[in-house]
Amino acid sequence: MLTKFLIISKQNLIHLLEKLSKKFVIFGPKKQNGNIIIDKINDLSHLVLEYEGRSLIPPKKFFLPPTEVLFEYEIEKDNIKIWDKLVELKKQKRILIGIKPCDISSLNILDKVFIREFHDPYVTTRRQNTIIVGITCETIVDTCFCVFTDSGPLVREGFDLLLTRIDESYLVEVGSEKGGQLISKFDELFQPAPQEFIRAREEKMESLIEKISSLVLPNFSEMYDIMVKNFHHEIWKELSNQCLSCGKCNFVCPTCYCFDVYDDVDLLLKHGKRIRRWDSCHFLSFTRVASGEVFRKERETRIKQRIYHKLVYSVNDIGVISCVGCGRCINVCPAGIDIREIVRELWRGE
C-alpha cells in the first residue's frame, strides 16, 4: 500500500474521536497523580496527546492484561461446562490512541511471540479488534534510547494511523488498510498533507535522533556476541548486590510477557475460573516446582535471565532483540539499574 499522508486540525481530531466513540471504546493517555497512564477515555477533555516520554505501564496491558480470565467453568455431577472468555473479546472494538513509537514497536515484537506455531487467541483477538493510533514524540526524556534499538523515534509498521503534531494540526500517516477505512467516512475533517508538513515531520524526527544520539551507546541489535561472551562477567555479581528482586522492571517492560496460570474456584467447588496473571522472572517462585526446587536460585541468574532474554534469547527465538529503548525499567528501578549502563560497560570492555 502506498503511504498516505493527511492533515487534521486539533479540533477536528476531537470531533473525529467523538464520532468514533459511538462505535469504539477509546483508550488513551491521561494524567493520574503525577503519571501519564493509558486508560479508558470517557471524557475527551482528559485526553493528553502530547506527553513527555511514555506511560507508566505500557500498552501491553490492553492485549495481555495484568490478570485475565481465560475461561470459566461449571462443575456438574457428571459434566463440566466451559465458557470461553474469547467470545466476549470478539465483540469489543477499541481505539488505542496516543501510543508512542517505541510502544508500537513493542507490540510488533509481542506479535512475533504470540502468533507463531501456536496462536494466543486472546492476544490476537485483541490485536485484531484494536485500532492503533500512534503519536510521535515532541521531546525525549533522559531515559529514552529508542534510536539504539531501532524502534523510534519513527516506526514503519504496526500502527493504523500515526499522528505528528505540526503547529496546531496533526500530520496523519495512514499505516494500514484498517486505518484508511476508519477515516474514509470522515473525509470532510481531513485535508491532503502538503509536502512541507511531511518535511516538518522529518525535521522533527531528525532533531530527536540527534538528541538521543548524544548518548554513547552501541546498537543493541549488535550486542549478541558480546553478551554471549560475557555471561560470566563480574558485572552480574555487582548487579546482584543492587537488585532488590522486586520485579517492577518486568511489569513495566512493554516486551516482558511471562505469566502464571492458576484456577480460582468458589467454596462449593462448582464455579471455577482459569486465570493468568503477569509474573516476573525476578521472583524465586517463577521457577519453583512441586518438589520445592528453584531453577534460578541465585539473584544473579535471574537478572541475567531478563537482560539476556532481551538481547540474546529473543534473537534466537523470534529473530529480533526485545528491547525497544523505552527506558521504563530504568525509570522505575529503585536500585537504579540501567540496561544502558550494562550494555555500555560490556561493549566498552571489547
Binding site: N79, F114, E117, D263, D279, T301, Y313
Partner: protein, 278 residues
C-alpha cells in the same frame, strides 16, 4: 480457530497403583472426535486439568498401541496431583495436547537404542518401548537400563517379562530389600553389564537431574557422539505452548522445543543445566 487454552473433556477410564505414591491413569476423551484426533509421539506430554485445582504437565506413558485411550503415570506431589489421586473411575478431567517434541523416532530407525530411565523418568520412555515392540524389525539392538530408589519404586514391573522378550532389560535399585536379588546402586552401575557401539546407538534418557548429569558424562566417556545423546528435561510449565516463559532455559522453551532435546542443543545453553552433564 480452536482456542488452544481450553482443555478437552476426558474421563478417567481406569487406574492402577504402581507404587504407594504413583498411579497410572487411563484417560479417554469424552468426545469421539477428540479420540480420533489424538495422535502422539513417544516423549510428548499433555496438560491435565483437574477442574477447580489447576493444570499440570504430564508425559504420556502409554497408549501408543491403544485405539481409544492413553496412559499417564503420575506421582502425588501437590495440589493437582493430589486432587487427581482423590478421583474415581469415571471422573472428568481436562486434557490439552499432545504437546512438545518427542523422542527422535525418525533418527532412531535402523539404529541400536539405549534407553536409560531413573525413577518416574521411565514414564515418557515407556511409549518408546511399546513402539519398538510394534515395529521391532525397524531397530537394531535395544537395551533398557532402569533404576529406582527401592524395589517398591520400580514402575511397570508387570511388563518387565514381556519387555525382556524383545529387548535387553537391566534393572538396579539404590537400596534393596529381602526380596531383591538384582543389582544395587545408581543406574550408572549397569554400564558394566552392557555392550554398545556408541556410533550406531542412540541413547535416550530421562530421570532426576543428578542422574542425567552422570549418565551423560558416562555416555561421553564411552564414546557416544553428542548428537546421539537425547534427554527429556523438566521445568515448571504452565501454558505448554511457548508463551508463559516459565520453562525457558537460556531462552529455549522446554515445552515447545522439548521436552526432548539432543545433547548438542542443550550443550550450548548459557545457563548451567546439571541434567546435561555440565
Amino acid at each position: 480457530m480452536e482456542n488452544p487454552y481450553i482443555p478437552k473433556l476426558a474421563i478417567i477410564k481406569d487406574y492402577r497403583d504402581e507404587t504407594p505414591d504413583t498411579r497410572t491413569f487411563q484417560v479417554r476423551f469424552k468426545d469421539l472426535e477428540d479420540i480420533k484426533k489424538f495422535k502422539f509421539n513417544p516423549g510428548q506430554f499433555v496438560e491435565l486439568t483437574v477442574f477447580g485445582y489447576g493444570e499440570a504437565p504430564f508425559s504420556i506413558s502409554g497408549g501408543i498401541d491403544k485405539e481409544d485411550y492413553f496412559e499417564l503415570t503420575i506421582r502425588k506431589m501437590g495440589t493437582v496431583t493430589s486432587a487427581l489421586f482423590r478421583m474415581q473411575r469415571g471422573s472428568i478431567i481436562g486434557i490439552r495436547g499432545p504437546l512438545g517434541r518427542g523422542w527422535p523416532i525418525e533418527k532412531m530407525l535402523g539404529k541400536d537404542i539405549l534407553i536409560i530411565g531413573g525413577g518416574i523418568g521411565i514414564a515418557p520412555l515407556r511409549p518408546v518401548i511399546h513402539y519398538i515392540k510394534l515395529h521391532r524389525e525397524k531397530f537394531g539392538k535395544v537395551i533398557l537400563m532402569y533404576g529406582a530408589r527401592t524395589p517398591k519404586d520400580l514402575l511397570y514391573k508387570y511388563e518387565f517379562d514381556d519387555w525382556a522378550k524383545f529387548i535387553e532389560v537391566h534393572l538396579t535399585v539404590d537400596c534393596g530389600d529381602e526380596t531383591w536379588k538384582g543389582r544395587v546402586g545408581v543406574v550408572t552401575v549397569l554400564f558394566d553389564e552392557i555392550e554398545v557401539i556408541p556410533e550406531k546407538t542412540i541413547a535416550l534418557q530421562c530421570g532426576p537431574p543428578i542422574m542425567m548429569h552422570f549418565v551423560t558424562k558416562m555416555l561421553k566417556k564411552i564414546g557416544f557422539p553428542d548428537e546421539n545423546i537425547y534427554l527429556s528435561l523438566e521445568r515448571l510449565m504452565k501454558c505448554g505452548m511457548g508463551f508463559c516463559g516459565k520453562c525457558t532455559i537460556s531462552g529455549t522453551y522446554v515445552c515447545r522445543h522439548g521436552p526432548v532435546f539432543c545433547y548438542t542443543e542443550v550443550r550450548g545453553f548459557l545457563e548451567k543445566i546439571p541434567e546435561a552433564g555440565e
